[in-house]
């Protein structure tokens, strides 16, 4: 049996991603099968719920993007971009949830923004660790560059409303080659 809290977080994660954070609390509670009363007992405000739902999405997100154990650093990095490429083939793809939420909220002090920044940093850290393992000269710069390509690829897929078709993988490959990560 799922708790009201879980149902709220799941419904929020899906609705906020699909329709934006402008979705009303009433619609959200109805989708979660939870009363507004319970929602406001579980969360201080809608803003807190946004942040919490974003946080909850992260593990699943990582599970899709990050590679399983094993493989060369190059393959492990490229796995992320291949997984993103697959995601953009789904018609429900609306870009990276972290980027989308931060973009919608504008306010840099919003609690959800800290969540987004933290999880985006985790992806950058993964790239940096692989680059370091491969002995790249400047792993942090390469990691930042790969993260930018990742988010730029997501933006492209959203704007054009079409799959990436290998463009993200190709760009990441070019950067890996340039950095000597073979």
């Amino acid at each position: 049996m799922t708790t009201p809290r879980d149902r709220l977080l799941d419904a929020a994660g899906e609705l906020f991603y699909r329709e934006g954070v402008g979705v009303g609390v009433d619609a959200l509670c109805k989708a979660a099968g939870v009363s507004k009363r319970s929602m406001y007992l579980l969360f201080e405000s809608k803003d807190e719920l946004i942040a919490a739902s974003l946080d909850r999405r992260a593990p699943g997100h990582d599970a899709v993007l990050l590679p399983p154990d094993g493989g060369t650093p190059r393959e492990r990095v490229l796995h992320v971009f291949r997984a993103q490429d697959d995601l953009t083939r789904q018609p429900t793809y609306r870009g990276c949830p972290m980027v989308a939420t931060a973009t919608e909220l504008k306010d840099a002090t919003h609690p959800a923004n800290a969540v987004a920044r933290r999880h985006k940093q985790a992806l950058t850290d993964f790239f940096a660790a692989e680059a370091r393992a491969a002995g790249v000269a400047d792993p942090d710069t390469l990691a930042a560059q790969l993260t930018m390509v990742f988010d730029g690829a997501g933006a492209r897929a959203v704007l054009r409303a079409e799959p990436l078709d290998g463009l993200g993988v190709a760009t990441a490959t070019a950067l890996l080659d340039a950095a000597g990560l073979t």
Copy 2:
């Protein structure tokens, strides 16, 4: 004397960028010094106004990003990323207006989405023209990659709420080098 139409488009362009498309029509009209009645005589709906204001922003946007006449293709391409770097130093920077609006609207059929796609394509076309002038093997792919880096760099600046500090320029440089555009 500015026309009500111009004032509306200017106010909409600034407010929608700074606070998002969720800004109300009342606040918008007050900022523009135009009555709601006039607004709805000039535009069919708020959605049309969003699209029109985005369209109006584009020339100024191009003027800031695109290089003046002259210079090598490489320098002309890098000028775009240097200009973007400067933009991210401003505390009012909220990312590329086209990307931000498309991200907020979700709906791919929204009139503003076509505007965003068109103007993003214009940037890609600029990159492709420079690449072609420099005799690059696959100018269209390079142009798409540069556009992704551009948007990824914008997303990074928004998420981290800090300037790019050369990261966009460095990444674009790496891609130019990789493509043999010296």
